[in-house]
Symmetry: C2
Subunit: 122 residues, 2 copies
């Protein structure tokens, strides 16, 4: 018999929860995926304006990671000036329900916080 039975399916270096969080973790990934799910296709510059606080370097880096992880696909038009379009892959789309629900949960929590703080100042 095993000395302990606290195994959690996370006995490898990472379990699936860990694995998934790593793939969508990071400061901008959630918002990029969410915006792509709303607009279907966004150009680099559009993403940059949408995620107001992102720097070009971080946007590029994050998009590259999402692309490598096959959550986002990148379509380059060989025009001048250049044009690059980003959209969700099928794998990426499967995450959208999760992100939507998370957003709704966040909305709810933020609303609660707002109500509570307005009660304090009154």
């Amino acid at each position: 018999m095993a000395k302990n039975n606290y195994t959690d399916g996370c006995t490898d270096v990472v379990c699936s929860v860990d694995y998934a969080f790593k793939r969508i973790g990071g400061k901008y990934k959630g918002r990029i995926l969410w915006n792509l799910s709303n607009k279907n296709i966004l150009r680099y510059g559009e993403l940059r304006k949408t995620l107001v606080d992102v720097t070009p370097k971080m946007l590029t880096q994050t998009l590259r990671e999402l692309e490598e992880d096959e959550l986002v696909s990148r379509k380059v038009y060989h025009e001048v000036p250049p044009k690059v379009e980003y959209s969700l892959t099928d794998i990426g789309m499967e995450l959208i329900p999760f992100i939507n629900h998370l957003k709704e949960w966040g909305d709810k929590q933020r609303l609660k916080e707002k109500v509570l703080s307005s009660l304090k100042t009154s």
Copy 2:
């Protein structure tokens, strides 16, 4: 007319997607929540054994954050040796369906990766 219409509901410092990711982001938070949802109640030491790679410092720190965010509740028994039990709050429980969804997505992806790599070595 506005100069651009790329607003995304994220015009505050953070939008709800951002907000939610911050509350459940971090190396161990997802796994802690998921394990608590499976076992209902876990003691500090049990969590430590379950999350094999966590250091005591990080576990304590993460649990404190989850407690402050009201995702997890902490019950101290004034015994010797000390005993502390952790469980999900109602707010924390609301996140479980999404974490489960994420886990299933992760399972599926990892399975795919496994199949692909076994094809390569054959």
